[in-house]
């Protein structure tokens, strides 16, 4: 009996082994190696390095550019969350029924099939202040124009707008899956009780979409804290440092400004801690389950 049980365990682990091995080599090891490096003054290209304790973490307290990057990342996260939650939901509700829904779903999903670099380059040209079509059409209809990406007051919003355009289709599909999971008879029962569309939305749709919300919310927040591609292509963190994000600061510290792997690893672990705290908070806020 005991032999059979251990054989079962062994079989299970043998099946899991390839996945575990990949996880250990490509996830766990880099993570732990990053943690170790964060306590050293390691620089790529230098054969030797030494243990510096918490010096890299302490330096972050004086690193004004890191603090600006962290603030910008928060601004992006907060500024993009409501539209990212609301716009795909509104579209999903509109496209849940209707004749052209398949065509429209595909149309909305299409931008998400593009890489971040393609999206960034396309919008960079669209928003070009001199030869870009965006300003051209604004001017044509008599609206004021500006250098959207070169103005510190609008650059972050231009990035948020680009991101919304890019990812809306992805979240739309997730919301649609959630909406189609809600049993029709719940709506029919509500209708019999005299509930209108608005009431049904608040009392049925939203509560039953809670798990989908949680997924969208958590993945978006995690993704927002890691924002890099759009910023790198559209503004390079500019104008000045107006849109510089934590990951960009980390990347430049590690790969452009002297390959300071120790400092960059410390930044990565601070970012990890921030994301972890926010993820736990979200799970706490949105935990629970609604059933009818």
């Amino acid at each position: 009996m005991r032999g059979r049980r251990s054989r079962t365990w062994l079989t299970a682990y043998l099946f899991l082994a390839p996945g575990l091995l990949l996880f250990a080599v490509f996830r766990a090891y880099p993570l732990l190696e990053g943690l170790r490096l964060s306590f050293t003054n390691a620089r790529l290209g230098r054969a030797t390095y030494s243990f510096v304790g918490f010096a890299n973490y302490m330096r972050l307290l004086d690193d004004t550019r890191f603090q600006v990057s962290l603030t910008n990342t928060f601004v992006y996260t907060v500024g993009s969350t409501v539209p990212i939650l609301a716009i795909p939901l509104a579209l999903a509700l509109a496209l849940n029924r209707g004749r052209l829904r398949t065509l429209l779903r595909s149309a909305f999903f299409f931008p998400f099939t593009l890489s971040v670099v393609t999206v960034g380059l396309a919008w960079l040209w669209l928003l070009d202040p001199v030869v870009g079509p965006f300003n051209y059409y604004l001017k044509a209809v008599g609206l004021p124009v500006r250098s959207w990406l070169a103005d510190p007051h609008t650059a972050m919003w231009a990035i948020i707008g680009t991101t919304i355009w890019w990812v809306t289709g992805y979240y739309l599909v997730i919301y649609l899956a959630g909406l189609q999971d809600i049993p029709r008879d719940v709506y029919e029962a509500a209708a019999l009780d005299g509930a209108g569309a608005w009431r049904a939305f608040w009392a049925i749709t939203l509560p039953l979409l809670r798990p989908v919300f949680l997924f969208v919310f958590v993945t978006h927040i995690i993704g927002s804290f890691q924002i890099f591609g759009q910023v790198f292509v559209l503004t390079m963190g500019g104008p000045g440092d107006a849109t510089r994000s934590v990951v960009q600061h980390l990347y430049e510290t590690a790969f452009q400004n002297f390959f300071q792997f120790g400092s960059a690893s410390a930044m990565a672990w601070v970012l990890f801690a921030v994301i972890l705290v926010f993820s736990l908070l979200q799970f706490r806020l949105l935990r629970g389950h609604t059933e009818y």
Partner: protein, 426 residues
């Protein structure tokens, strides 16, 4: 029909392969050695991602046809190329040959990424200092050792948009655009052309606000620099640099003569929305392809001296775990071949050579743009030979953009930048 044909082909192929393998096995030892000594294939990394990349492809094809040496190129943007070199070379995965910018030589040499080149080898391959312009030859060395051999001299030049300047009445009696004689003249002319989304003057290909190479050009014209002459600390908080920063700020601000910080100056110039443009020499072949009506002039003297920014490309040997003599010789053969054929490179890619010989080639001196580029040679200047140059440049980019967009005053920005540069680790 086609299936039968394929079947026969496959059978023939297998028989042929077996025969060839058998043939090799029974070859005499001498013939086998000759087969083993077949011309090697070398790996070559460069960042020639523009039109010059296509020219390099053509020349490499010609080189392979003539020498039998095949070259596998990896072409990636310069910034990524440098990060990749820094990571791959210590792991023994670097290329046999790499083309890099002069300012990258000191830090790669200092970090042991590049193999030093001794004088005997260099002389043996026919490379002599007197054949090169001094600044380009010197740019291949760091702390007395040579690590690189220069190919060409990308540099700034002033492009003048004939149509825009004609429309603004800024042409001479011969119908050619006027060339600004001083900074005041340039500003006055630029103001005449600036209206709405059209601008009179810009420095930089894209994103003029953060164009460090343009900022460096102005610094050097004003006798300032990024580091002090002993290379021990930043000189950017000194009055000469602050004066340049103030001018930089006025370009996008009070003077209103330059495009917004993130504009594509190249597209604006092509679209007829930019009159005078200081930009890299690598742009002119593209402007010709785009059929833009333009002329060129030497970079105008906007401050104390008419210095022209340059950034020579240098051939380097990334340090391998162990040197493959055949590949190293093949790489040298390629450098020699390119040096001998550099006139073709100049004519097609628009980059004048680091060696003097081709400078008298009538095909080159007959081209007005190339002639202007060559005429700038006495005023050429390149970055300072410190391993911290590139890191300082990366720090400079957002700071000068914040000056250009009036987020920070010039003096405070330069003081902050100098502080950041001085804090770079050794």
């Amino acid at each position: 029909m086609s299936d039968a044909h394929t079947e026969v082909g496959r059978r023939r192929f297998l028989i042929g392969t077996a025969a060839a393998a058998g043939g090799v096995a029974i070859l005499p030892a001498g013939a086998r050695r000759a087969a083993a000594q077949a011309k090697p294939t070398i790996s070559y990394w460069n960042g020639l991602t523009g039109a010059d990349g296509k020219v390099m492809d053509e020349l490499i094809d010609q080189f392979t046809r003539e020498t039998g040496i095949a070259i596998e190129q990896q072409r990636i943007p310069w910034t990524d190329l440098y990060a990749k070199l820094q990571v791959s070379v210590p792991a023994g995965q670097g290329p046999d040959l790499a083309l890099i910018h002069t300012v990258e030589v000191p830090h790669f040499a200092s970090d042991g990424v590049l193999e030093p080149i001794d004088d005997a080898t260099l002389g043996g391959k026919g490379f002599r200092g007197e054949d090169y312009l001094p600044a380009t030859w010197q740019g291949g060395t760091f702390q007395g050792k040579r690590y690189a051999v220069a190919l060409d001299v990308p540099q700034h030049i002033l492009y003048l948009n004939t149509k825009v300047m004609k429309d603004a009445g800024l042409v001479g009696s011969d119908g050619r655009p006027r060339v600004p004689a001083s900074r005041d003249d340039l500003v006055a002319m630029a103001k005449q052309m600036s209206k709405g989304d059209s601008f009179g003057f810009a420095i930089g290909t894209v994103a003029p606000g953060r164009y460090t190479w343009g900022f460096q050009n102005l610094l050097w014209q004003n006798g300032a620099n990024v580091y002090t002459s002993d290379l021990k600390r930043s000189a950017l908080a000194e009055p000469g640099a602050i004066e340049v920063a103030d001018f930089w700020s006025s370009l996008g601000g009070s003077l209103k003569i330059s495009p917004p910080a993130n504009a594509s100056c190249r597209d604006a110039f092509i679209a007829g929305k930019l009159g005078m443009w200081i930009a890299g020499s690598w742009n002119f072949t593209g402007l010709r392809d785009a059929k833009v009506e333009f002329t060129v002039a030497p970079v105008p003297r906007l401050f104390k001296q008419p210095v022209v920014w340059t950034m020579p490309h240098q051939y380097t040997f990334p340090k391998p775990k162990s040197v493959d003599r055949a590949k190293r010789d093949a790489a040298w053969t390629h450098i020699r071949w390119m040096t001998d054929h550099v006139a073709e490179w100049t004519l097609k890619a628009g980059q004048v050579s680091a060696t003097r010989k081709s400078h008298t080639d009538p095909r080159i001196t007959g081209d007005p743009v190339l002639r202007t580029l060559l005429a700038q040679a006495p005023n050429w200047q390149a970055g300072q030979p410190t391993p911290k140059w590139v890191a300082a440049e990366n720090l400079t980019r957002p700071v000068i953009e914040s000056v250009y967009t009036a987020q920070k005053p010039g003096k405070a920005a330069m003081e902050d930048l100098a502080r950041q540069i001085n804090a770079l680790p050794d």
